[in-house]
């Protein structure tokens, strides 16, 4: 496939677990993820804690080697590049972290924080450096009054703007946004989301957005992938996926985030139980232990025995569910009084 800035194929990441009692035991945090992002587009990866979404981000940034699969950035396989190319690729792939105050050195002032990536990559010095810093500051909506401040003197929103300026400093083409607004208040979140949209349009950026918040993902993304226990269980165009979700997990996630007075708390929760440990991935479909559709269908055996294939359910829209084509997957799950709330 051409035209994709970033392509992940069969990406898997296992972490060894020494002293677990099992010899050579490892924990498969990401277990075969495929995704592709065309230049200038936004791919949203959504899932709960432990689904593996941040591990995908770490792999893309080259912070951790892959166990299997490949990551191709603009035609270059990240696993096989030499050190020199890798260094230049670091300029092109940047990240915005969740906790701005944890991502900024508390002993550095804003001007030095923004200048740091430029000096590290030897992109500017002297007057040109100061000019670049001033420009970046303006790009993220800060002004020269902030230049000499330390991170603790900034609000959460201002600190996140500094983190974004640092990410933009090297002129990246791909920016990984790892929960960019989770630590922020609602009004500040709106300000930062607006900034991210503006920056994408102005700089032609491509984003890999990672978030647990479907409404944030919906706002920014062209395509959405829903992760569960290390796999993408449904993937499609943002509009189609959110309007007619075909995987029972996507539907449960959507029902969990509907909100604002529209959810009756007397009805059963959209999903029961907790996500199983990555240690004990259920057999067959990894979602079958919590699946409302499986209950509704009378617990078909296939869910427990066979890993569901990725089924095409619409234009460029796939879902890994045995019953993704079933008419019933398009209805809301009926309330089940037996389920505990």
């Amino acid at each position: 496939m051409s035209g994709n800035l970033l392509e992940l194929t069969g990406v898997a990441k296992a972490y060894p677990v020494p002293g677990s009692g099992r010899k050579g035991a490892s924990l498969l945090a990401v277990d075969g993820v495929d995704l592709a992002i065309p230049q200038g587009r936004v791919f949203g990866l959504v899932g709960e804690s432990g689904s593996g979404k941040t591990t995908v981000a770490r792999c893309v940034l080259g912070l951790t080697p892959l166990t299997h699969g490949s990551i191709v950035f603009d035609g270059t396989d990240l696993a096989t590049v030499d050190a020199r190319t890798r260094r230049s690729l670091r300029r092109e792939i940047q990240i915005v972290f969740q906790q701005p105050l944890a991502a900024l050195d508390p002993r550095m002032t804003v001007d030095n924080l923004i200048a740091e990536p430029l000096t590290t990559h030897r992109l500017a010095r002297g007057a040109a450096l100061r000019e670049r810093v001033g420009k970046l500051l303006g790009d993220v909506g800060l002004s020269s009054v902030h230049l000499k401040r330390y991170p603790h003197e900034l609000s959460g929103g201002q600190a996140q703007r500094v983190v974004i300026a640092r990410a933009l400093a090297t002129g990246p083409r791909l920016v990984v946004l790892d929960e960019p607004t989770s630590a922020l208040d609602i009004v500040v979140q709106a300000q930062i989301l607006n900034l991210l949209v503006e920056l994408r349009d102005e700089h032609g950026l491509t984003y890999l957005l990672i978030s647990h918040d479907l409404s944030v993902v919906r706002h920014l993304s062209d395509r959405i992938g829903v992760m569960y226990l290390g796999r993408i269980v449904e993937e499609g165009p943002a509009g189609a996926l959110l309007e007619s979700p075909r995987h029972p997990y996507t539907r449960a996630l959507l029902a969990s985030t509907r909100g604002r007075g529209s959810t009756s708390l007397d009805e059963p929760a959209p999903i029961t139980g907790e996500m199983p440990s990555t240690w004990d991935v259920p057999s067959g479909c990894r979602f079958h232990t919590r699946c409302a559709l499986r209950e509704e269908l009378g617990r078909p055996e296939v869910c427990q025995t066979t890993e569901p294939p990725r089924t095409t359910v619409g234009p460029r829209h796939v879902a890994a569910c045995h019953f993704a084509q079933d008419a019933r997957t398009q209805q809301a799950p009926p309330p089940d009084p037996a389920r505990e709330g």
Partner: protein
């Protein structure tokens, strides 16, 4: 019917070396009726957690609270330490945001919850442990007998939050203060916890003081909502009414800023600037510098919270312009 909890003009100042360094609460007034769920929303630093802590008199030592907090007819700010102990954990209990840091890591969950029951209900260890098992079962934890023997780190966040709720309800309180009870949890688990709280509230009839930054959650759970800004209630009203017709520009800003309600990729309506500092205060409305409806009067005269009919109250000179 008299209110279960009545907070009247609550002010909290922080001081250092005899000088006031922060005026965190600047006159908060609100009520919770028996069995009612009242939500308190606002951004970081608006004073919502402080309001909750004030009710239980759990403020840090350098904080001074003035005003009046009446709970079941008693003035909480005047109670002796002895009288206070009879209320905390028994008549009013609290569920905190991070279950992981709210339990003592070196004791088992069952032991810790049991202590609350033994102390307040004057029962022995054996009866206490039996009650703990029953309560853990009531909050939806399978195998309560084994959960009791676990240390906090052996439980998931969702299970620990259930255990904390068990600790909060074991003495059948009449008021539960829930401070961001689901913020640390995944969305699907959050929905389970909200439903659990709702079921327990129905069964036991306690009032809930629900503190959250998340308007969606508060709207789902609460009968009434109070919106806090810079240490004051700027609007209060019945949930449906407040959502349908917010009368304070800040409430409207909070509602509109949520993504998911507007067209994807379109600019989200937001107000410029940031929440003011908690030190000095200009004479007018604290929201005036950010307000789209601001007029001269807003900088000169502070609006007070006034009823505008149908149980809704707003502190804004321009409320009828919205």
């Amino acid at each position: 019917m008299s209110a279960l909890l009545e907070i009247d003009d609550l002010r909290v100042d922080f001081s250092r070396d005899g000088r006031v360094t922060s005026r965190a609460l600047r006159g908060v007034s609100l009520t919770v009726e028996p069995g009612e769920a009242v939500g308190v929303v606002g951004e970081t630093g608006c004073g919502k957690t402080l309001t909750g802590l004030s009710v239980l008199r759990m403020l840090p030592e350098n904080a001074t609270a003035t005003g009046r907090i009446t709970f079941e007819g008693k003035d909480m700010l005047e109670l002796s330490a002895h009288e206070l102990r009879a209320i905390r954990g028994r008549r009013i209990s609290m569920v905190f945001q991070s279950p992981g840091t709210s339990f003592n890591p070196v004791f088992t969950v069952g032991y810790q919850i049991g202590l609350v029951a033994e102390r307040h209900l004057g029962i022995g260890r054996k009866d206490g442990q039996r009650l703990v098992a029953e309560t853990l079962h009531a909050v939806g934890l399978p195998n309560p007998e084994s959960v009791m023997r676990f240390y906090p780190h052996e439980l998931s966040g969702g299970m620990l939050q259930r255990a904390m709720i068990a600790m909060a309800i074991i003495c059948k309180p009449s008021l539960l203060i829930a401070d961001e009870p689901t913020t640390a949890l995944d969305v699907t688990i959050a929905q389970q916890i909200l439903r659990l709280l709702r079921r327990l509230q129905r069964e036991q009839g306690f009032g809930v003081f629900f503190i959250s930054h998340d308007l969606d959650l508060v709207s789902d759970f609460c009968d009434r909502i109070a919106v806090l800004y810079a240490g004051r209630v700027v609007e209060m009203g019945a949930t449906a009414q407040l959502l349908a017709r917010p009368r304070h520009p800040y409430t409207r800003a909070l509602l509109e800023a949520l993504p998911g309600k507007s067209e994807p990729g379109s600019p989200l309506p937001t107000v410029p600037g940031a929440v003011p500092g908690d030190r000095d205060e200009a004479p007018g409305c604290a929201f005036a510098p950010r307000c789209p409806l601001v007029v001269e009067q807003c900088f000169e005269e502070r609006p007070t919270l006034a009823g505008i009919g149908a149980g809704q109250a707003v502190a804004c000179h321009r409320w009828d312009a919205l």
